[in-house]
């Protein structure tokens, strides 16, 4: 990832007025390394960074609130491979207009999971992180430490299939080959009782903070089914029944739409393995219908289309 090129591009876009704002990353305060940042002045371009700690999916800011700006100012945003996939899916669903965006694509070799890193290095001692092939070189106050990428990357990144953004106006780096491989599933080989025991245990922990929903670029219904009062799908009480309903709603609504970026699982404060559930639905969409979300902005949505010979093995 080319940080200098990113800053130059951003400075140019803002000073020429091609965009009104840029959504990027800045240095974080709290053991998270980087955090999202929205700037409007070219002088702030130097605030933006591009490091292996830039884990957030910035596409969420395009759909977070219904558009209130009648002038619809243009926005530039930085997207990694998975973020671009979410963006393409949002475009497919007409959540944003392509013409309102300048896409700065970042081919990505993986993002560091902060907790994994802070097991090895004290957070406050880190001065700089650089990459060297399959390792990260962490410069600290005491010297240098080399860590294998596979030990500190997010699980999602270790099995990434779309590291290079499939859509970009400017590419801030060289294309990256997918790592490939299957994500591990803790419920593999479990019986139905064991599955229910596993998932009901996880759903019981949910506090319905909706961080998963708010962090997800693809959750942008005007009235979320989890909030809806007419009809009232999910009551306000927090217990296994309502939590299960909430997670079912979310998993089903993301079948064939989820970009598998992992933002939901990262946002969850109580550690529910949301990606395991979402990835399973994504695999079902691929296996049954041959549909991969977020790859073609002109494709028809999975559940908004059909084939007359769709599989019906589930009908006995």
């Amino acid at each position: 990832m080319d940080e200098e090129k990113m800053r130059d591009t951003v400075r140019d876009l803002l000073s020429t007025g091609k965009v009104a704002s840029v959504i990027g990353y800045e240095k974080g305060e709290l053991g998270q390394g980087a955090r999202p940042c929205i700037i409007t002045s070219p002088d702030d371009a130097d605030r933006l960074i591009l490091t292996p700690m830039c884990k957030h999916n910035l596409t969420v800011y395009l759909t977070l609130e219904p558009p209130t700006d009648p002038e619809k100012k243009k926005v530039a945003l930085i997207v990694k491979g998975c973020d671009a996939r979410a963006l393409i899916q949002v475009l497919q669903e007409r959540g944003v207009e392509r013409d309102d965006l300048v896409i700065l694509g970042v081919p990505c070799t993986g993002m560091i999971e902060p907790d994994k890193l802070y097991q090895e290095v004290i957070e406050d001692d880190i001065l700089e992180i650089s990459e060297d092939g399959d390792t990260f070189i962490i410069k600290t106050r005491d010297g240098e430490q080399t860590l294998k990428k596979e030990d500190v990357l997010f699980d999602e990144c270790l099995t990434c299939t779309y590291p290079t953004p499939l859509m970009a106006d400017v590419m801030l780096g060289e294309p990256v080959e997918p790592r490939g491989g299957e994500a591990s599933d803790p419920t593999e080989g479990m019986s139905a009782e064991e599955r229910w025991a596993f998932w009901s245990d996880k759903f019981s922990k949910c506090i319905r903070c909706f961080a998963c929903r708010q962090a997800c670029p693809l959750c942008f219904c005007e009235v979320c089914a989890g909030d809806s009062l007419k009809p009232n799908w999910v009551k306000r009480s927090v217990n296994l029944s309502e939590n299960t309903m909430w997670h079912f709603i979310r998993a089903f609504h993301h079948a064939g739409r989820c970009a598998e970026c992992g933002a939901c699982e990262r946002a969850c404060p109580v550690g529910i393995p949301l990606m395991t559930l979402n990835k399973r639905m994504a695999r079902e969409a691929e296996d049954i219908f041959g549909y991969s979300s977020g790859t073609d902005p002109e494709a028809k949505p999975l559940l908004g289309s059909f084939k007359t010979d769709d599989e019906e093995d589930f009908i006995q």
Binding site: W199, K235, S237, S241, T244, R280, L303
Partner: protein, 141 residues
Amino acid sequence: MAEDDFEPKIVAFLCNWCSYAGADLTGTSRIQYPPSVRVVRVMCSGRINPLLVLHALQQGADGVLISGCHPGDCHYIQGNYFARRRMNLITRLLEYVGIDSGRVQMSWVSASEGPKFADVIKKVTEDVRKLGPNEQFVREV
């Protein structure tokens, strides 16, 4: 735990033009079928929001049946094709989380298939009876 004398409560969403008419024919033909089913008539199986299926289970239904016109014969041309995709995915979601997808079934019953409707209900009732009462994520109130 399955109890053989437990009478399952099945919520059946039947499309107005085919399945509901077929069920009606079953009745007028005096063909017997288990009293487990509670029918909800909808205009088309494509109207079924998958959340309705989950809602039925959450409210205590032991099983849910969605029945529509045969593919290619939908009164509204395409509705059952959409329904088919949705039901495929919802049954897989339930299965993955450990809720036996035998509880949620789909069938194609046309307006002239009186006996078939009875067979479908018999089958669904037996399948759900074996699975036992639904206790997994039933609502508290």
